[in-house]
Symmetry: C2
Subunit: 406 residues, 2 copies
Amino acid sequence: MKINLERLRKDVEDLSRIGRDPRGGVTRPSFSQADFEARAWLKNRICEAGLYHRQDGAGNIFGRLGADGPTVLVGSHIDTVINGGAFDGAAGVLAALECLRRIKEEGRTLSKPLELVSFTDEEGNLVGDFLGSRAFAGTLSREEINTGLTPFGRPLGTILEGTEFSLESILGAHKERPQLDSYLELHIEQGTTLEMEEISIGIVERIAGKIYRQCSFVGQASHAGTTPLELRRDAFLATADFALRGTQLVATKHYGSMITVGRITAHPGSFSVVPGKVDFTLDLRSSSGDTLRVLDTELREMAADIASTRGTEFFWRAIDRTEPVALSERIIGIMKDECGKLGYSWMALTSGAGHDAQIVAPLAETGMIFIPCRDGISHSPEEMIDWKDLETGANLLLQTLLRLAG
Amino acid sequence: MKINLERLRKDVEDLSRIGRDPRGGVTRPSFSQADFEARAWLKNRICEAGLYHRQDGAGNIFGRLGADGPTVLVGSHIDTVINGGAFDGAAGVLAALECLRRIKEEGRTLSKPLELVSFTDEEGNLVGDFLGSRAFAGTLSREEINTGLTPFGRPLGTILEGTEFSLESILGAHKERPQLDSYLELHIEQGTTLEMEEISIGIVERIAGKIYRQCSFVGQASHAGTTPLELRRDAFLATADFALRGTQLVATKHYGSMITVGRITAHPGSFSVVPGKVDFTLDLRSSSGDTLRVLDTELREMAADIASTRGTEFFWRAIDRTEPVALSERIIGIMKDECGKLGYSWMALTSGAGHDAQIVAPLAETGMIFIPCRDGISHSPEEMIDWKDLETGANLLLQTLLRLAG
């Protein structure tokens, strides 16, 4: 049994037209008008395929094949970042749809029910990453969704007004969860490893953990024309030193882990004033929880050293922290086995990006398939794939589903 | 003859109450409501002192003692930055007022007329530094004042509506300029040299030149979790490298010159995205025009080197450029001589900050007196002086005026 690439490609292209952004790419954050249009479109595809459509209180969309019992869940998400691409998330949901459609068409009788899922707001456009899968898993707190403004400037509760959803329904979504046998997800790699190795299949062994920190060096703002260099307490030079030395530390001592300073704000932020305070973000990732903790401690010590050398103070606080997740060895074994039967080359990978799979993994055996994306680019209008890779990945997904449910 | 410190201090304190900002310090940008209030207050002081008050088309305020002929001009400015202090500018205008008041009181007959001046918008709150003195000197172009928005979000022409000033009157101000003999200005140092040396008088020999540049490193935005460190084209690490190496270059090879990166914006500016572009400002200053040009060239080569090493491109453009200005050797000599007679300790200084004096210097022999300010702090609610230093500085200003006009 093989998937129908023509049909799958048409689905991906049709969905990518919903939320097309005149400034480029696809803008389809959850609970936007484009998202509701995409939900209606997906519901039609699910019903046309003869699957049972339902939706939980968090807006997670399901398409079921088979009756009750421990369920083999398969999916991803259809929301995008602002000016995102056509494949991040959508490829996984529509590959899953195509798999269930083929199994239904073939009339194959399976011992376990299969269910397609599209999780709400994987991209964290509202109140943080993985809103839908965390509501599904029951790990979302009332405080997280109740407080603060979304990046759209309104609280989540206000955004939900006039929809069929509410903060209460989101918090209750996990009660509607079926008993799970396992979870599978296909996703674009969002990196360049597969492309550079010219391999179509990445079998994900681990998803990296991360620590997000908001950091500040605080020195003394002073006049750029009259403060001698040796008397300055320049918070930007401290930040520059930290970013370079921190990157060097990871590259030499913790190779394979990641460090990124992505957002930087200097105060007061004027041509002629030495920055007295710089706020910046720190994104640390590693496939090893121990490495992540050691790196975090080493960076704290490095920052303290830089702060004292440069006449500044250093502050940081954790914004988010997730442990690395190991995926199911049994499912990894099945995937390797099926690649052999199908004649597909594959390689084992660690995912540096986060995925709904890491949220579902504590609930059931979980597996992930990566396919290459061009130049490793995602979250961008330039996001692109080779369609043959999607075909290869979806066929592996199909065979893995048949093994798990058969 | 000595100045009356009690009266001068009362003037400084009275003026500092106009534009008092509830968020701290004094906010009195030119052509604001607070500025018009301050102008009326200053006019009253000028008239009370028996000086002849006038105003030119740029809003520069004058108070004249004596008839026609080459004029000894003395002053500074009364505008402030947002949340500025009570002394930057105001100390110079009010010390000049006190000197002319004392000379008038004593009935001293001088061979040359004296004129107090308060220049409009020295701080560049509207369309760039030194609006008033540049209008006075006739070096302001129509394009500069006609285009773009002020930081207050409205074009200068709109801000001037309903006032007695217009773009035309500003551009014509230099036609009202008296024939100049010389110009003197007293100002707070805005640095820590005098305070650390425990010396009350800085005799300014040169005003540093500067180059302002807007710079960008452009690399490639990419996923913070999936892009290996060695494949990144991180525009922030390039910027960090440039700031640190550039500072090292100045500290070792061009000691005494200044380099400052004051404003930094990373794009897209997200936790989990490697910055693909960083825009930043570069402020270079030196008392030597040759050093400034050499440094500028060396930094351009350094940036090109960093750009190629880090897989980025580098762009910059000049925003502003002023040559260093040498002040009058004759006036410097008079000041040193008068310090000796008065028993004041003094030291020669280069001003790293810009002043109206550098704009007037090409028109007439120019001299500047610095007095210490606490911790070198200016442009801040914390700006403070020792009143004895103001007395000392104003007495030197008075004796220098008498020598120049006597």
